[in-house]
């Protein structure tokens, strides 16, 4: 089989990005170490949790996109397949970096303190679920499942590169991915409840998990779009990506943020309507003392602005403009995570957890170093797939607006 090689320039570019990412990662970790000594345990670990969760949800979004692609995918899935595959390969790293969150359990979670639980009937009732050993076991289970799926899909995909006609292999990938999407929904729900929602153990929302999962999918698409649009001018991508692919990815991003807004608003409407004291506390902590501005910015920049831009056909067909919207969504995902997590430590009083930026850079640098390394390894899309014909219409994709 005639293998198409990626442009040397692209490989070199990815290599230099990997080095930059590594440097940023090391600097971020130094900043984190400084933060550990300069701030309180609460501030340090909550900030770390925000930065770490941000990158985990990018990897998880990539994982669910990969599984959707293997189940139903068309051209849009084939063109981002290598990007999302590479992103899922960071999950083992994220599991290792989770150790820092584990070390922070006493600072992050009220339910981990025996003396607090002893005086709290509700926490006693929740103790069979919310206790440290079970928390650790659950998190290990999530990561084993995610890493296992990511490992197998990557392995089979690379195997498919060598034997593209192996129908049994494709079937295996589909048979893992379809139930994998269901398993993903369950594990992400439990993981978000454990890691984030249980910071405020008296409060609960059953829609929280899907809100996090859909946000992760939006992050996965935003991240993949940014990377893919950056590779557009290099071979063989320049000959593959068509206007319709850019448009499809734009539609996916639009669908993800719409679904995110839908579930986020549903949670708000239900709690607002019922107006029960034990439920409204969560919103009161997040809509007072300055946090309301973050909430309003979140509504407008995480939903309305990208929504209206993505409604316009021209935005979705111009790679440069779509990339900008993807950046906005990705940045707002980080702001959203700050708004979800940090008010628990600073209720009704706006404060910026600067450790989260150090964690964003530190964890992100390592994440991206692994990501670019994996992407450089296999950066050519599965051209043998009959659904991905190589054409020469890529010029249309550059700034062409219809």
């Amino acid at each position: 089989m005639n293998r198409i090689q990626a442009d040397e320039k692209l490989i070199r570019r990815l290599g230099s990005y990997q080095k930059i990412a590594l440097i940023v990662g090391v600097l971020g970790i130094l900043a984190l170490i400084a933060g550990f000594f300069l701030t309180s345990g609460e501030d340090f670990f909550s900030g770390y949790l925000i930065g770490w969760v941000f990158w985990v949800q990018v990897a998880l979004g990539a994982l669910v996109i990969l599984m959707i692609q293997n189940t139903v995918g068309g051209r849009w899935g084939l063109v981002i397949q290598r990007v999302v595959e590479a992103a899922t390969q960071t999950l083992p790293l994220m599991a290792i970096l989770f150790l820092v969150v584990l070390a922070g359990i006493p600072h992050l979670y009220e339910w981990a303190h025996a003396d607090v639980v002893a005086h709290d009937e509700l926490l006693q009732a929740k103790a069979p679920y919310l206790n440290v050993p079970f928390y650790v076991v659950r998190s290990v289970i999530y990561f084993v499942i995610w890493i296992g799926i990511a490992y197998l899909l990557r392995k089979w995909s690379l195997q498919l590169d060598n034997e593209p006609d192996n129908a049994a292999l494709r079937k295996k990938m589909r048979n893992l991915s379809a139930p994998g999407i269901l398993i993903f929904g369950l594990t992400v729900t439990f993981a978000s409840v454990d890691w984030m929602m249980s910071i405020e153990p008296h409060w609960y929302s059953t829609i929280y998990g899907i809100m996090f999962g859909v946000g992760a999918m939006a992050s996965g698409f935003a991240f993949s779009i940014i990377v893919l649009m950056g590779m557009l001018k290099f071979k063989p991508w320049s000959g593959i990506i068509q206007t319709i692919d850019v448009s499809d990815l734009g539609n996916w991003l639009l669908a993800s943020i719409m679904l995110w807004a839908y579930v986020a608003f549903s949670q708000f409407l239900i709690i607002w309507s019922a107006n029960l004291p034990e439920e409204t506390t969560w919103y009161l902590a997040r809509t007072q003392g300055g946090w309301q501005w973050v909430a309003i910015i979140n509504v407008f920049l995480h939903f309305f602005l990208p929504f209206f831009f993505l409604l316009v056909r021209g935005t979705k067909r111009a790679p440069g403009r779509l990339k900008k919207i993807a950046w906005l969504v990705l940045i707002m995902r980080f702001v959203d995570l700050i708004w979800l997590i940090y008010p628990a430590f600073s209720p009704g009083k706006l404060a910026f957890p600067w450790v989260s930026v150090a964690a964003l850079l530190g964890v992100g640098g390592l994440f991206l170093a692994i990501f670019f390394r994996q992407l450089a390894k296999v950066s050519v899309p599965p051209l043998y797939d009959s659904r991905l014909p190589v054409t020469n219409v890529s010029e249309e994709a550059h700034g062409h607006v219809s």
Partner: protein, 176 residues
Amino acid sequence: MSESIYGLIARFDTPEAVVEATRRARQAGYRKMEAYSPFPIEELTEILDFKPKIQYLVFIGGVLGALTGFALQYYASVISYPLIIGGRPFNSWPAFIVVEFELTILFAGLAAVFGMLGLNGFPHPYHPVFNAKDFKLVSRDKFFLVIESSDPRFDAERTRSFLESLNPEEVTDVQP
């Protein structure tokens, strides 16, 4: 004869052929022309420089739907029949959003359907193109390109030989 016909129609067997023919006709300077196909062909839209306007109507429909939804509920619960429910304000806008959303979809959908009909010029009981030979095949497996006689560059003889040069299956007159 040349002035009395609606135009000339060329029949093609494949979508690629009609796309190529339309592109060449466009390059040759013809503007008043139309391509017909059993299914949508995106390239044709671009070559014919067809600028759809339906999305503006749908957007306006959606905005009107949202405003109607809000006005309806605002009038009912603030002006016409104010009732205190669960201690919430009369203008409970978060609760209004559900109906606003539904009406946005409804109005946008209606705008899409009726806007499409209107922009297509329906109802349109008569169109000369149906006089063309074998035109009914357009809903099965044939592709057609019509150059109208109202095009400034139209000339019965030269346009016919131009169309013949595009490798059609057949070129025929379209009676008005």
